[in-house]
Subunit: 376 residues, 3 copies
């Protein structure tokens, strides 16, 4: 489509763009990263370290921040542009104009095995060899890819997508507009074993896993159900691949967990929390709203709202960065300490010697401080 | 059921309970966490930080520790109780009286594909679309959920449960009363590549993975087979989700590995070892009996029996806790060191100056120490 | 086979072996680890800490390094041997003479569902219940195990093996001679969400994942596709189990990623890079050729070619090892510092006192240093 049409579809005011002047209304045929963009592509620049790509990008059109230098440069290079306070967000809205994710057709594949007790919504798509067991409820517009297994008494909300080879365990409740990626396992038995003289005794897991609306669960991620009560992932929270959420974990709204995050049992997470890759959270940890934890952090205890944490055990990030900046000087510090200790011994002896001389010579001391000099 | 019947079923002496007196034999209809328990629920209190929940719980009955204060409080609040040295263990035994995990009916689904050479035990349950290949042996009472793939020459012991979408590779031996959770992969090729001038050369993995009786393997956990010899998980050991056990790993009895633990190749683990979440164990590490490693610890070399280890590289936990308590003071320590070095220089010059004056004035020194004063 | 035949098949010169003399041409029936080897077994010794196993091994034949002591010892113990600069590599070449991995027969299982638009090569093997969707291209000699799901428009190169229960997402390109292990998910949507006032907004992932020839992908490993552009794993790179490669990750040739490694978005990795288990790599990190990172390292920024990195945040390994060797002395260092500070105060007061006495006594100072003594 023409750039001018793109502006229109995105609802962008011409005031915030260069795209109506003669010679600057290119045909846009696709989207690209700004460094790899070629003629016909729309890309975005978020500012920061990618700002310099404005000099070299082959894009025909750019989404720019509210930055007059970048805008002038784009104009100079004859690149059509629009500007917005949040280029990445606008780009996200532009992507669907050029790319639609694959969705299988509506309909139930003849090889899908659906228990007669299952309540199916309207316009569902159910893939080959998918197995849906007794008393499951499937909402309208749900899309289930091939080879999914749904255990009994599961509820799946409207328009939710289940990708191939994932497994939804008994009694799990999944909200509307969720996406469960391939290989994920939701609602399996929590890891509950009690030590006894005869070895570990299994605690049966009678609880339930609940995903609220708009939750996404990454590939091969696992979210367990508890012995009693709920494991719950809050509205619009997004979990990346290979994440583990243990029994009784609870998250608020709009949380982000990057890949390979692990939550032990009974963790409570507030709203708008962001956990970086490979973060680990200990049993019963309480994480306040808007906490952010850097990659590989280890959280435990109570994390105050708004904290930004790093390291293991985690500290506020400023503390961590200062400490880790010094960490590599530890050997040098250790050596300095030993040197200081030696120098201190030398000085102590020197002063003792001086004081001894002064005593011999009858030199008297005027002021005796708290520590004194030892001269009598 | 009535509380008195519950006592009977659990074999609890009335001496250790309040549940026969008039007005204190409630109907128990389910189980709950103590904080969320409502009327009709049985819960447990283990003591410690949950002790205060006795004040507020809505439970009709409690399993308590041998703690007279808690018992008196429960009596006062008209909550039926029983007491035991290990409330969690007794609760685990009570759960099955109120909750039975879902098990599919005995029988073989007509869509299961079972090679004619497979030896099937009595009373097995085999789910839809499960594929069992040549020369597999399946014990009595085995339950295999839908979509499981079993490669040739596998052995599965009596009463073992295989959840949906898991994969058991060729020649794997799984004992009796094991549980393999959804998406787990047992006995796949170990990660064996040898560097050469032409790049990495694959070492074929001719070995076998063995799970002894009563082993549990978490969702999406992977246990590889080796090039030669065995990978072996010992009796009653329990692995949580997303754990990795590399080729030739060996564990003893009653080991616990929390989620996302990783064992590199050739690791040997004793009995009753507990590895916390995200622990990593280097190639050829030897871990003694009853070792415990805190979450995220990195183990290598030889870990003595009974050690409690934390950190990466791991140290005994007391050492680690002391060191990590000081860690955040590193910048302040670094600054103190520099200050001390400056102060030291000043003092050294002051003493030199004093000594110089004393030499000029002809003041003689009495005792010359090891280090001397530099005064001649 | 006879040891002499083994030599012949491996192309080993008799000069580098003991295997033709009378009484030293044993029948070799299998392969084993040197510690567990029994009569009839071929094993290898790489030197180093396994060298002492030459004293006790029950192997009938050994592959040895170019080490005359080991060779003499083997000769003395009547063990047939061959020697090579790289025993493990030669052993890898010997394994297939005794062990062939299981491969299903050529042919398409009648339950496999293959879209009519799929282009199938010659001599393919496609397992039970595998689902191959529209416009997929499958090369010659490809082997697809049961229960695999291939989304539309995927390309699979010649002789590539896809193990059970893995999922290949739309438009993914997999080269020749690759192995995708069970449960792996290739080409699923990258983790792309943009914050907005209304919560996280999904960025659709229009890009593609490409695996070049001879790539291996471990069990339950996930390699995502990006919003735009490519995720690419280079020629002959090998990824172990439970690895995560985020959107737009790029690796060169012959890279190794051990189990549970995680690459965030946009990471660029050179050739011959080795990442140890549980290594994490931050967004946009650039890793040069032949970098090695120890287990659990956290990499970010730019890592120079040839670096060997450890720790989190990662440092050159010598620096890390020195620092971590001192780490546990931190509490002692902290105490020493405080002691030095106290001693310093005492000395400062002592010197002040001495100087005061000297002033009173009219002792004059000869040389005034930079810092002076404060004596006038």
């Amino acid at each position: 489509m023409k750039f001018s049409e793109l502006l229109q579809q995105l609802g962008i005011d011409h005031h915030h763009s260069l795209g109506v002047k003669p010679g600057c209304n290119p045909e846009i045929t696709g989207i690209a990263q700004v460094q790899q963009a070629r003629s016909g592509s729309l890309a975005y620049i978020d500012g920061g370290k990618f700002a310099s790509t404005i000099e070299t990008t082959g894009a025909s059109a750019l989404i720019l921040p509210l930055d007059e230098t970048l805008q002038a440069k784009a104009t100079e290079r004859q690149i059509a542009w629009m500007s917005t306070p949040d280029p990445k967000l606008l780009f996200a809205k532009a992507v669907p104009l050029f790319y639609q994710p694959y969705r299988p057709a509506i309909g139930i594949h003849p090889t899908a095995i659906i228990d007669p007790s299952v309540r199916l919504g309207q316009n569902v798509s159910i893939g080959a060899y998918t197995v849906i067991q007794a008393d499951v409820t499937i909402g309208d517009g749900v899309c289930i890819h091939p080879q999914v297994v749904i255990y009994p008494q599961v509820q799946i909300g409207d328009r939710t997508i289940l990708h191939a080879n994932c497994t939804i365990h008994e009694r799990t409740q999944i909200g509307a507009d969720c996406v469960i990626h391939s290989g994920a396992v939701i609602g399996a038995e929590g890891f509950g074993f009690v030590p006894s003289a005869d070895g570990w005794v299994k605690m049966e897991q009678s609880g339930v896993t609940v995903l609220e609306d708009r939750v996404e669960v990454g590939c091969n991620t696992t979210i367990d159900r508890p012995a009693v009560g709920e494991t719950r992932i809050g509205h619009n929270s997004k979990l990346d691949n290979l994440v583990h959420v243990g029994h009784n974990g609870q998250t608020g709204e709009n949380c982000i967990m990057a890949a390979q995050v692990g939550l032990a049992g009974g963790v409570q997470v507030g709203n708008w929390v962001i956990l970086g890759g490979q973060v680990g959270v200990a049993n019963q940890t309480r994480i306040g709203d808007r906490v952010q934890a850097g990659a590989k952090a280890g959280l435990h205890g109570t994390i105050e709202p708004g904290s930004v944490m790093m390291g293991n055990p985690a500290s506020p990030y400023k503390t961590f960065l200062k400490a880790s900046a010094v960490y590599n000087r530890l050997p040098e510090m250790h050596q300095s300490l030993r040197q200081l200790q030696q120098q201190m011994s030398v000085l102590q002896e020197q002063i003792q010697a001086i004081e001894a001389v002064m005593v011999v010579e009858g030199l008297e001391q005027e002021n005796e401080g708290t520590h004194g000099t030892g001269i009598q």
